[in-house]
């Protein structure tokens, strides 16, 4: 059973271009295609019509690299929730549907071209403290660090974040809380992460806040997250941040040894 669709796609030549929607007809779309394969087909069609293909980010096409992601009918990664755009299949659409395709919208994610945005702000947050300082070679035997199964499992729940940015795209405030909280929680839960715990959360949250809006506990991020990251981690990050601020007052942490920005 083939689908005929009308696509309204955001086209933008470059970062400084105004950008606008263009409408394309996509016929002979089969229900087994992924959303990105549908875009591939449309691109071949555009090429034949001497129109430049739609630029969109993608890489692994199996839901783990976090590279793909477009807003489909107002929803990041499409109508299903809990999936990446590459894992969304056309069987979830009906023939005759009009589908609006837009890039992630947030000040921190400027459009590079068409549906491609710059998510470098996420890297900046990781740079600020999303790591455990463990120089290569100095590690003790792995089994000397005991981690309870519950802790390891919860840390893994948080670590599953794929960094796609759908949380920011879904948030009406353009907040980067879910992404940041996932990494803070992953590392702050583990025994290996304790020495840098307070400095990490402070530095990461402060960096996050230079790029992103603030969390108003809508929960939209959680609803679209392909990795199923829970907003409980946001609460956990908030708690650690507040505790860190009080510890800071008592001179208990030192700023992470990182070069100042700029």
């Amino acid at each position: 059973m083939n689908l005929s669709l009308t696509l309204k796609v955001w086209r933008q030549q470059g970062p400084d271009d105004e950008g606008c929607f263009e409408t394309y007809q996509a016929n002979d779309i089969t229900e087994h295609m992924s959303f990105l394969e549908m875009l591939d087909v449309v691109n071949e069609q555009l090429l034949a019509e001497n129109k430049e293909p739609i630029a969109f980010d993608h890489d692994c096409r199996e839901g783990i690299c976090g590279m793909c992601g477009v807003v489909i009918n107002g929803k990041p990664h499409g109508p299903n929730g809990g999936t990446t755009t590459c894992q969304l299949h056309m069987r979830h659409f009906k023939s005759g549907d009009t589908i609006t395709v837009e890039p992630w919208r947030a000040r921190a994610f400027p459009v590079i071209k068409d549906l491609v945005v710059n998510r470098g702000a996420f890297d900046k947050i990781i740079q600020a403290g999303g790591f455990i300082t463990a120089p290569t070679g100095g590690a003790q035997d792995a089994n000397l660090t005991l981690v309870s199964k519950a802790t390891a499992d919860t840390a893994m729940d948080a670590a599953a974040c794929i960094g796609c940015g759908a949380c920011v795209a879904a948030c009406p405030n353009g907040a980067g809380q879910l992404f940041t909280a996932a990494k803070v929680s992953h590392l702050n839960l583990l025994p290996q992460g304790q020495p840098e715990r307070w400095a990490r959360v402070t530095s990461m949250v402060d960096t996050m806040e230079t790029y992103f809006g603030s969390c108003t506990n809508y929960g939209e991020c959680e609803a679209v997250c392909p990795a199923g990251i829970s907003i409980n981690f946001i609460a956990q990050m908030n708690r650690d941040y507040l505790r860190a601020k009080f510890k800071d007052k008592r001179g208990q942490i030192r700023q992470v040894d990182v070069a100042d920005e700029g």
């Binding site: 295609m33 293909p53 199996e62 690299c65 590079i112 309870s148 070069a259």
Partner: protein, 638 residues
């Protein structure tokens, strides 16, 4: 030319220690005087860049993705092997070494593999210290599982996302160095040429994929950790961006390409559903522990699986391999499925797969148990195909998964071009003709965290006091010009077909003739067909847009162009290797039962190919493989 593997003397177990002692060092205060380029930010590249930065070198790191975290290492599901023997089940460094050599069908270098097995233990320590959330037992110790038919439980894992967690560990270590200023990270930059000056690797030419600018970067050493080239087949389990360009450009500049024909096919992938298919998705091999593989007994079977009576099902693996049954090794299972489909017994709408049936297991163990074991895999299958695998059997078919070949490197992981190092899947070194499950992650991290940091300084030490070649040097200018010319040639072809159009066709040729089973006739035909297709590509390519901004078709064109040349070399290598071994099966060389027939007398060597000019057959160099410890034996799974 004689290839010097530079394997150190002495007993196997002491080689690495001795070598590290005899390798020259760079003192801490001198390290900042050296610069190192690392291309690729996967496990090998990310780990190497982070480690060199930490040691005090100036590092420039490049990746074509938008973030260093997205390299395709991230997609590895199963786990990572390490000879920790935490399970007390008789594992040891020597056993991991032996299993790896045997699994590689005696086509790997013993000393490298032994070193890999030794280092495997340090990798786990390092990753745990970084906060990789490996699976744990209730007592808090690390959990292990048996993987890929191994007889010991030596695989460490983080759910089905081990690659992701290891990649994020390396990425985080790398980003720490970026913040500290020791590593300059260039994302959305693609390496388009290697610069060789006076016979040494002097730097690289890259294209900024956002602005289209062509840039030169020079350094004392260049490390390529750019992954595998399974996308030559168009359809593979690789990411869409996986490509051969970086190592192919190095090959064209003089680096030897070793064993290009060794290709690992994974038996349990979701079959193609149509011409638009852009990628194949792997389903974990563990599914074969409980699933039964079958096909129809009559051709062009169009009934639903539930309507096919037991008597009209062919459980072909159980039939042909009574003792191993559904658990035969990857290559054996893959070829058996291919034969069934080729003979017209395939299942599904387009008869291009075989069933993997869990009905018996669900009846025996209950749905809850199956759900607990494979729940996430079943969900993934349902998401992609729209079918419920609890109710009807999964359809599976083999797909290209990993390429064991790559640039030739010596024991130091340095190619035949001084100053050019190659790590991870991009080199040929440790897996021989076939790779064991859960060994790719191990090799990438071993190279990045431990091997290169010990061997690269030996090469740098000789250059103390000399600056890297200036990027104003003629060698850089020539390379830049060549790259610019190539880019404008693609843009100016003005034909009618997209790069994908050609890539699909190339993939089909390679899959049909240089895939799971190869023969001389097919390979010769493929070389010719690829040549023709390439000419057509050069004439009739169509790229819209310009070179001054993000242009994904333009990026693809360059990669596809290199895949053409690589494809021909793969076929040439496959044609010359008149034996069957590991991921290379020549129909002419099989036992009466259809098993691979190795020829150790004639082919126990590494085939390292030297580029002889575009369109010309490459020149073969051989590195003989000597097996002093692990003596070759024939496999049998009957």
């Amino acid at each position: 030319m004689v290839l010097d593997s530079k394997v150190p003397d002495g007993p196997l177990a002491e080689k690495w220690d001795n070598h590290r002692f005899s390798t020259k060092l760079v003192a801490p205060q001198n390290r900042r005087k050296f610069s190192i380029i690392v291309v690729g930010t996967g496990l090998a590249g990310g780990a190497a860049a982070a480690t060199f930065g930490e040691m005090g070198y100036n590092v420039k790191s490049f990746c074509f993705q938008d973030s260093a975290r997205r390299a395709h290492s991230i997609a590895a599901q199963g786990g990572i092997n390490a000879a920790k023997n935490y399970k007390n089940d008789g594992d040891s460094v020597y056993r991991l070494f032996y299993d790896t050599i045997k699994g590689g069908d005696y086509r790997a270098r013993e000393a490298n593999v032994y070193r890999l097995a030794e280092i495997s233990r340090n990798i786990i320590d390092q990753c745990v210290a970084q906060g990789v959330p490996f699976a744990r037992e209730y007592g808090g110790l690390l959990d292990n599982r048996s993987f890929g038919g191994a007889q010991v439980s030596r695989t460490f894992y983080a759910r089905g996302q081990t690659g992701q967690q290891l990649e994020l560990g390396a990425y985080q270590a790398l980003m720490r160095q970026v913040e500290l200023g020791t590593v300059q990270l260039h994302t959305r930059h693609e390496m388009l040429d290697l610069v060789v000056a006076d016979g040494r690797a002097a730097g690289i030419v890259v294209r900024d994929l956002v602005t289209g600018e062509i840039e030169s970067h020079s350094a004392h050493a260049v490390i390529l950790a750019t992954g595998g080239y399974n996308n030559a087949f168009y359809l593979s389990t690789g990411a869409k961006g996986c490509n051969v360009t970086a190592i192919w450009r190095a090959h064209r500049r003089g680096a030897y390409f070793a064993n290009p024909c060794y290709t690992q096919i994974h038996p349990t992938c979701i079959p193609v559903s149509g011409d638009y298919q852009s990628k194949l998705t792997l389903m974990s091999e563990s599914l074969r522990n409980d699933g039964r593989v079958w096909a129809a007994t009559k051709q062009d079977e169009n009934r639903k699986p539930g309507d096919i009576p037991e008597s009209e099902r062919d459980y072909f693996l159980e039939r042909r391999y009574p003792s191993f049954g559904n658990l035969v090794p990857r290559d054996v299972a893959s070829r058996a499925a291919k034969k069934v489909v080729d003979d017209g017994f395939g299942v599904g709408d387009i008869h291009n797969g075989v069933y993997l049936d869990f009905a018996d297991a669900i009846a025996r163990l209950g749905r809850a148990t199956i759900e607990q074991r494979y729940g996430n895999l079943f969900d993934m299958y349902a998401k992609i195909t729209g079918d419920d695998p609890y109710k009807s059997p999964m359809r599976i078919y083999p797909a290209v998964h990993y390429t064991m070949g790559g640039l030739w490197v010596d024991y130091n992981l340095m190619s035949n071009l001084p100053g050019l190092f190659v790590a991870g899947e991009a080199n040929f070194s440790d897996h021989g003709a076939n790779r064991l499950g859960a060994s790719a992650l191990m090799q990438g991290l071993a190279d990045g965290y431990f091997v290169l940091p010990a061997t690269v300084p030996g090469e740098l030490a000789n250059q103390l006091g000399s600056a890297p070649v200036a990027t104003t040097d003629a060698a850089f200018r020539d390379a830049e010009e060549a790259v610019t010319e190539r880019v404008s040639r693609f843009l100016g072809t003005g034909g009618s077909h997209s790069p994908d159009f050609y890539h699909r066709k190339l993939g089909r040729i390679l899959w049909d003739n240089c895939g799971m089973a190869r023969n001389a006739g097919g390979l010769k035909k493929a070389i010719e067909e690829i040549g023709n297709l390439r000419e057509d590509f050069e004439r009739d390519l169509k790229i819209l847009g310009n070179g001054d901004s993000l242009n994904q078709s333009l990026e693809k064109a360059g990669r596809v162009a290199d895949f053409f040349e690589l494809g021909q070399l793969m076929c040439q290598d496959a044609l010359h290797r008149e034996e069957s071994c590991g991921g290379h099966f020549r129909e002419e060389h099989q036992t009466p039962d259809g098993e691979a027939l190795r020829d150790d007398d004639k082919f126990a060597y590494v085939a390292a190919w030297e580029h002889a000019g575009t369109g010309k057959p490459a020149t073969l160099h051989k590195e003989d493989l000597v097996f002093e410890y692990a003596h070759p034996s024939q496999r049998s799974y009957k």
